[in-house]
């Protein structure tokens, strides 16, 4: 596993244009597989349009203490893109006006943004009741200054959504780096200790499972029950729900698919598992993604592909929800990742 981002390695795939080209060539150009647009048209779902906005997902920066092999953000310690206070202030203005009920903070490791806590506090004052922080867990034990994060989360009743690719050390470390599993377990125990994931505490702790390889997640409920049994028995850990998330063929996961000669099979699998019912609830329809530098996107994946919203308003500094809601969602072949099987979103399955 590489310990550097595609960007730091000057890999061709760090260029989103190259990724989009790759996703439109080959199988899809010669008609062997239908394009995502074609699939939507067949079901009369094209163009894809938003439903009422529920979640504002803000990416606080691409800096991360981990370099996971599947990361669609291409995040890592070598990424310096971080949201400034000025952009945060634009976000706060938008939060005051938005109809969205949930603020979903992601990264990178959002906690590494030096103004993370200030932003959560201000957003709380601005009226946000439902906070999600997507934590990679290991950040909590990475440095003394983060040790009190569980208390901070608790104070603001933050809903913590944490990645843990598997309940066994080997698979977790292979995907996320040596030692990640043990640190994640330690962080989960710290979260449990302040009440997270415990019945009756009202403090929600959900885990994210994503496959450590070129295969799709199957049966979120069965997987949740396996995770619960194993984590309880082995480490006395409690959590609320497990979200099974499909890896989308972009960025570092795309690099892996190509290098391991799994790309074609994976795309076949995604296309064959296309589920029209999942299309009705894909997250781009109720979520808006804001990048570290304030640009607006249909989802975090389109953000990484630099596909800004198809709207007259493209930046948080002149946020106008009516204008933004009246748009067509930008699609490409990576979208098959969200419509396969039971569907996939940042909240797990959707169908």
């Amino acid at each position: 596993m590489s310990t550097k981002s595609l960007s730091a390695r000057n890999n061709e795939l760090s260029n989103p244009q190259k990724q989009l080209e790759y996703l439109s060539e080959g199988l899809f150009a010669d008609g062997e597989l239908p394009t995502f647009k074609h699939k939507l048209e067949k079901e009369d779902d094209f163009p894809l349009q938003p439903k009422p906005l529920e979640i504002l997902q803000i990416n606080l920066g691409y800096m991360c203490n981990q370099v996971c092999s599947h990361c669609h953000v291409d995040a890592g310690p070598d990424r310096k893109e971080i949201m400034t206070v000025e952009t945060m202030q634009h976000c706060l203005e938008a939060i005051k006006k938005t109809g969205a009920h949930t603020l979903d903070l992601t990264g990178g490791a959002p906690e590494m943004n030096p103004n993370f806590r200030w932003f959560v506090e201000e957003a709380s004052k601005a009226g946000i009741k439902d906070f999600i922080v997507r934590s990679n867990l290991t950040i909590i034990v990475a440095n003394k200054k983060y040790y009190d994060l569980p208390e901070f989360f608790k104070k603001h009743n933050v809903h913590v959504v944490s990645s843990l690719p598997f309940y066994k050390r080997e698979k977790t470390d292979k995907q996320r780096g040596e030692g990640v599993f043990d640190k994640s377990i330690q962080a989960l125990q710290m979260l449990n200790a302040v009440g997270y994931g415990k019945e009756g505490s009202g403090l929600k702790l959900d885990l994210v499972y994503n496959p450590s390889g070129a295969f799709l997640p199957k049966d979120q409920d069965a997987m949740e029950s396996d995770f619960k049994t194993a984590l309880k028995e082995d480490f006395d850990i409690d959590f609320n729900s497990l979200f099974a998330i499909t890896n989308l063929p972009i960025s570092r996961f795309l690099e892996y698919l190509i290098a391991s000669e799994n790309y074609e099979d994976y795309m076949y699998e995604l296309v064959n598992a296309y589920n029209p019912a999942a299309v009705q609830n894909v997250m781009c329809r109720n979520t808006l993604s804001v990048s570290w530098d304030g640009w607006l996107y249909d989802c975090d994946f389109n953000q990484m592909l630099e596909l800004k919203v198809n709207s007259s308003v493209k930046h948080i500094s002149n946020y106008d929800e009516d204008a933004i809601q009246n748009r067509n969602i930008i699609i490409s072949q990576h979208c098959y990742g969200c419509t396969a099987g039971a569907g996939s979103s940042c909240q797990g399955t959707v169908a």
């Binding site: 199957k218 069965a222 099979d265």
Partner: protein, 111 residues
């Protein structure tokens, strides 16, 4: 170089067998789908049985399919290998139990 008899990408075309015999093909795939649903045995248990049988009948397509199915279900590599051994043990047992026939014949023919 000659083409191999088995092409991994042929597995994707499995469904096409229905085109040349629609009724039988459809019946087979309906049956196949039902077999692997949750029942008295869990889908997970059936996946491991399928993996073991795949090895015994030495079907490369089935081995590919049920290794992936196992990964999708979170089945560990240790569980998968034990399933392969269970299949192998039955298969070698089936050979060895014929040793009794050999012993019987030997004894019958010997003074």
């Amino acid at each position: 170089m000659s083409k191999p008899y088995y092409d991994p990408s042929d597995l994707r075309k499995f469904g096409e067998i229905t085109e040349w015999s629609e009724e039988l093909g459809k019946k087979f795939f309906d049956y196949y789908g039902s077999v692997f649903e949750e029942g008295a045995l869990s889908a997970r248990e059936k996946s491991l049985i399928a993996l073991a049988v795949a090895h015994v009948v030495k079907c490369p397509y089935c081995i590919d399919a049920y290794t992936k199915d196992g990964l999708e279900r979170g089945i560990t590599k240790e569980e998968m290998m034990e399933a392969v051994h269970a299949g192998a043990a039955i298969e070698s047992g089936a050979t060895l139990v014929h040793g009794v026939q050999m012993m019987n014949k030997y004894k019958k023919l010997s003074m």
